[in-house]
Structures are given as C-alpha cells and as structure tokens.
C-alpha cells in the first residue's frame, strides 16, 4: 500500500496565465474562447481558446532571445512548468540526490513552427521537451513523451503515479502542453465537429467543440518522502483508469464502454463508492457524440448517485493533449477553494445527456474524478482526493516476463500478405505504416497463440509522418481547404494503437510513447510494469516508423 501526493502545480490556458487568474475566471465564468487573434488562420468563423500572450511575450517572460526559434507548444509548457517547480519548492537543493522524471503529453509538438517554415508536419513530439526541461534546476532528468491525442496529459500523470508506486523514480513532473496549429484547426474542421459559437457541452443545441491551447503540470511524490522534505501537499492521487473504447478512430461508442471502464477502474483502485465522489470534471467537449457517450457511461457508473458533473471547456476551449492536466489543476483549484466549476453555456436539457452542474460555492470536495478521452478511443480517468488515500496497486515484483513472439516487416512488398488477415475493403483507409503495424501484430499474436491481447503499447519516433506531410502539403497548396478527414484522423501518434484495439476488440490499457529512439524502451518497460501490476497477462508491444518502413511487434508475457 502506498500513497502519492501532489506537491505542486502550474497552469496556463485561455482563462489565465497562472492558478490565481484561472481561479478568478472559474468564479466569474468569463470565457477565454473568442475570435482567433494569434494563429495565422483564415478560419475567423471558428472561435478558439487562445492563451492571451503572443510568442514574443512568452519569449520575454521565459528569458528567451527574440531571434531564437521555439515552438509555442514548448514555450507554453516551459511557462507552466516554471510555475509548477516554484509552487513545489523544487530548488536544486531539494532535488539533490533525487531521481527526477519529466513526463509530458503532446500531439501537436512543433507542428506550428513547421507550418511557419513550410517544411511539413514535424511529428517528432519529443522536440518540445528540450525546451521545457531547461526549467528544471538539475541536469540529469529522465524524460518521456506520451502521445495519446486528447488524453495525453492525463496519461502522463498516470504513468508518473505508477512509476512512483514502483519506486522507479523519486520526483515526477507530469502533465502536457499543446498550442493551436493551423494543422489541427483545419483537421478538426474537416471532421465537422467544430462549433461556430462558443461550445455548449451537454446542451441539446451543442454543435461541436472549440479548440483551445495551454499547458499544465503537477509535481508528484511518494507521500512519506514529500512529508520528509516538508512539502506542501495539495492533494493525493487515489486511482486511475486507462482503457480503450475500441470502437472508432474518432467517434465514441453508443454505450461509452471505454469511459465506463476507465471510471470503474479508477474507483475500484481508490476503494470508493459512487456516493463518495463529490464532483466530476467531464471530458465534455461539446460534440454530439462525446457528450452523449460520456453521459451514458456516467449513468452506467453512477446510476442514481450521480454527483455534480461539469465541463469547463466552454471557458478554456478543448486544449486537446493538455486537457487532462489543465483540468486536473482546475479540480485542484476547485477543491482548495471549495466550489464546483459551472458548466457555462448550458441552457437546454438534452434527452441523451446528463444535466450538468451550474457553479456551486461553499462546498467540500473530498474526492474528484477528472475524465480525459482521446482519438483512437484512448479513455482515461483520474481520481484526486483531499485526504491521504492508499492506492490498491497490487504490485508483485516477483513476476517475471518474457518476449514470447516477434514479427518484423521492413519491405513494402511484404505488405501484400495483409490480405491473409483482412479484406481490401477493411484495409481501404490504411497507409503503408498502418498496414505494416497490422501485419506484424497479427503475426506476433498468431505465433503466441493469442486472439486478443490484454493491452496494447506502441512506440513510434515520428508517428504518422507521411499522413502529416500530405495534410501539410494540402494546406500549403490549397490554402486551408480540402483536408482529407481520413488523413487527419490518422495523423495522431496513437493512430496505430487505437486502430489495432478496434480491430482486435481490445478494451484494455492502451498507450503510445514517442520519446525518440527511447520510445521502444519505454514501451517494453511499461508492458512489464503492467504485468507486475496484475493488469495484464500479455501485452502487444509494437515499434512502428516510416522513412523507410520499419515495423516490429512483440508479445510480452507473464511467465
């Protein structure tokens, strides 16, 4: 039994550049969503939640020379992390002799800089970490990047928690960062899920989401060690769930299976009943699909004991990969200041949705759930508590694992063999990398004699590079028009993990690492961790990259 404390936090988003400003906006309900000012896009009809600072102002605040090139994603991350480190009192003295790990979630990475220089989509998600890392007052910090689309930041917090529980590190800085880009604004637009007004989560008239941007990080430590260094404990992490909806690349299943399983796992781990949850910060994007499915999942988990639920995305916009940590910090602010954030913009009861909560002052929040769902059906839930809780982690260090099957593909002509496993109709939307990842996965599973793995963990250095490049090409040639929705939904790093889960019907743990050459190491480590936690008996692990194609799948199995 172990306990994990949150000892620092920092945030920047459309409704404030620090916790104090965000707190004030949450009280007044003043939205940060409006006409775009900073992003060089012609889509003025699409409201967005921009951080109210130019790149030049961010550089000045961070002490970066105006001539140096930094992506907005990296600068937002560095800005939030600097606050987080100060908040936690992490001086070089406090960090002496400690193992420190920075885990950051992003999908956009440096895309917006690549747009400026017209050099295609920069899908190397890790690039943002070099800038952010410079804020940490030690030189040898372990780094990891998670890219599970809109649930990236929440999955970063979950990974940090697990690494602390298994004594793999001492201090974790975890969260995520994402800047708006012409790339994903046009991409979401091609999916026809952007509202032309300020979004209205759970409302009968909801038309879609508004994109936002920002960053937020937490400092996590084992509670006993946090007390030893007399850290100010802001809250505790009590439980988590990471599941896959395994239904559709961008849409959500009718019964909200992934969300249901993620919340159920988190509550089981925290030993909490529905009546004990005081507030849920919903994913609540404002799209017809998400809000309906999340409502169904909430009804399934809570039945008659549904606590107040609200989405804060009509204030912040949907900050995509950063939303999990931004909304966790919003939960912390609400907990400390004893209020429930309102679901602003909601007016009309939707027959298919829960009735969200208005702003409620003077209320104690002991246990709070934060939901974060992403493309590929990457659904995660986190529970934070105002009192020390012990996580049911059931780790068994005696368990050993073995890589029991392996398959690789590195030649394009080998991909024809995919026909043995699926019809051309089924594979009609697949790019070569996706075909390769499917072929090696099916072969490895076949060798291991497994139909459906318990979990899927994917490593990729460049992600869906070719698809990203095609989209950037269209944007440059046709001036923000005619983006292929298929290409866009297959441009996130977690595309392969999500698509494999759908094909295999795997609702288990699902994650994607994009930490350069170390990605595969992180993936294998995580598979072993998962098996020792008793959350899986076997895990499908893959390393998939393009230019040239290289795809390797292995099955990691409990011995």
């Amino acid at each position: 039994m172990s306990s994990i404390a949150i000892t620092g936090s920092g945030i920047i988003c459309a409704i404030g550049n620090d916790k104090k400003q965000v707190h004030d906006s949450l009280l007044t309900g003043k939205t940060g969503v409006g006409e775009l000012r900073y992003l060089p896009s012609r889509h003025k009809e699409l409201p967005v939640g921009e951080v109210k600072m130019t790149d030049a102002e961010l550089k000045k605040a961070l002490g970066i020379s105006p001539t140096e090139v930094y992506s907005r994603t990296a600068m937002l991350g560095a800005y939030a992390l600097r606050q987080t480190i100060a908040d936690a009192g992490l001086t070089s003295e406090a960090l002496k002799g400690k193992r420190v790990t920075l885990i950051s979630g992003t999908t956009v990475g440096g895309t917006e800089k690549s747009e400026q220089y017209s050099c295609g989509n920069n899908t190397k998600a890790i690039d943002h970490l070099t800038t952010i890392n410079s804020q940490i007052p030690i030189s040898d910090c372990q780094l990891s990047t998670i890219s599970t689309a809109c649930s990236s930041a929440l999955n970063a917090i979950i990974l940090g928690t697990r690494m602390l529980l298994m004594d793999e590190t001492d201090i974790v800085l975890a969260g995520g960062t994402e800047a708006l880009s012409v790339f994903h604004l046009n991409g979401f637009n091609s999916l026809m899920i952007l509202d032309h007004q300020v979004c209205r989560p759970f409302d009968a008239t909801r038309q879609g989401l508004n994109l936002g941007e920002g960053a937020a990080y937490l400092v996590l430590e084992r509670t006993n060690e946090a007390r030893l260094r007399k850290a100010n404990i802001e809250a505790y992490i009590s439980g988590w769930g990471n599941r896959c909806d395994a239904f559709h690349q961008t849409a959500t299943s009718e019964n909200g299976e992934g969300a249901f399983l993620a919340m159920t796992d988190a509550m089981k781990m925290a030993n909490l009943n529905p009546e004990e949850i005081d507030y849920i910060n919903a994913h609540g994007t404002g799209t017809p699909d998400n809000d309906k499915a999340e409502s169904t999942a909430l009804h399934r988990v809570f039945a008659d004991a549904l606590p107040p639920v609200s989405s804060t995305k009509s204030l912040t916009g949907h900050t995509t990969s950063a939303s999990g940590s931004i909304e966790t910090v919003i939960c912390l602010i609400a907990m400390h200041n004893r209020f429930i954030p309102g679901n602003y913009g909601w007016k009309n009861k939707s027959p298919e949705c829960i009735t969200p909560s208005a702003f409620i002052p003077d209320t104690d929040l002991h246990h709070v759930i934060c939901n974060s769902f992403g493309f590929g059906g990457n659904d995660s839930s986190l529970i934070i508590s105002d009192r020390e809780t012990h996580i049911n982690s059931n780790v068994n260090y005696q368990v050993s694992t073995v890589n029991c099957a392996e398959a690789t593909v590195s030649q394009e002509d080998e991909l024809k063999a995919l026909r043995e496993y699926m019809s051309p109709m089924e594979s009609r939307r697949m790019c070569q990398l996706m075909k390769a990842s499917f072929l090696t996965s099916m072969r490895a599973l076949e060798i291991a004699g497994i139909n459906k793995p318990d979990a899927i963990i994917i490593a990729t250095e460049h992600g869906m590079f070719e698809n990203g490049k095609k989209i950037s090409g269209t944007l440059n040639e046709q001036g923000e028009e005619g983006i292929s929705p298929t290409l866009f939904m297959q441009s996130t790093h977690n595309t392969l993990a999500g698509a494999l889960a759908i094909h295999l019907g795997c609702h288990g743990y699902n994650i994607t690492y994009s930490q350069g050459k170390e990605s595969f190491w992180w993936a294998i480590q995580d598979a072993q961790r998962l098996i020792r936690e008793g959350k899986a008996e076997n895990v499908l692990v893959g390393l998939h990259d393009e230019m040239p194609i290289y795809s390797k799948s292995v099955i990691v199995k409990k011995v």
Binding site: L191, M192, Q249, T250, P424, R428, I483, S484, T486, M489
Partner: protein, 86 residues
C-alpha cells in the same frame, strides 16, 4: 445524368480507395452505407463531403446533411446536378 453517375462512381472509388471495385460493381440505386450495399461508414461520408466541395463547389453545413444525400449514387448525382457551382 448517366455521365455524372459514372463520374461520381469513379470519384468515389478513387477517393475512398476501393480496391477491387469497378464502376460496374456499384448499383446506382443501391444504398452506399450499411449492410446490403457498398458498406461505407461515417468516415467515408466525411470524405464524400470533401469531394462535393472540391469537385463541385458544394459546401454542406453538417455531417447530418450528408446522410440525407449520400443514400445512393443516383441521389448524389441528382443533388450535384441541382446544386453544383462548378
């Protein structure tokens, strides 16, 4: 109209990357989505919306609007001939 129907079939095959399918294989009056027809899905519908915009200058307001138009190739042809800007 027959010319437009053939053109649409060719475009659908190209845009949706329907390997092994020729225009002759597509029944102009058969449903495109779900069982009993081509078996297309909601992602294909989004691609068809982009096709209408790019090729014929027709901009649909929502995915739901697409559903009422993309019932069969014949129906799409009818809609295109009445609404095309180019």
């Amino acid at each position: 109209m027959d010319e437009l129907i053939l053109e649409l079939k060719e475009e659908i095959i190209r845009v949706l990357n329907l390997e092994d399918i020729t225009p002759e294989d597509i029944d102009s009056t058969a449903p495109l989505f779900g069982a009993g027809g081509l078996g297309l899905d909601s992602i294909d519908a989004l691609e068809l919306i982009v096709l209408l915009e790019k090729r014929y200058g027709i901009r649909l307001a929502s995915a739901a609007e697409g559903k009422t138009i993309f019932t069969s190739v014949e129906n799409i042809a009818k809609y295109v001939s009445e609404n095309r800007k180019r």
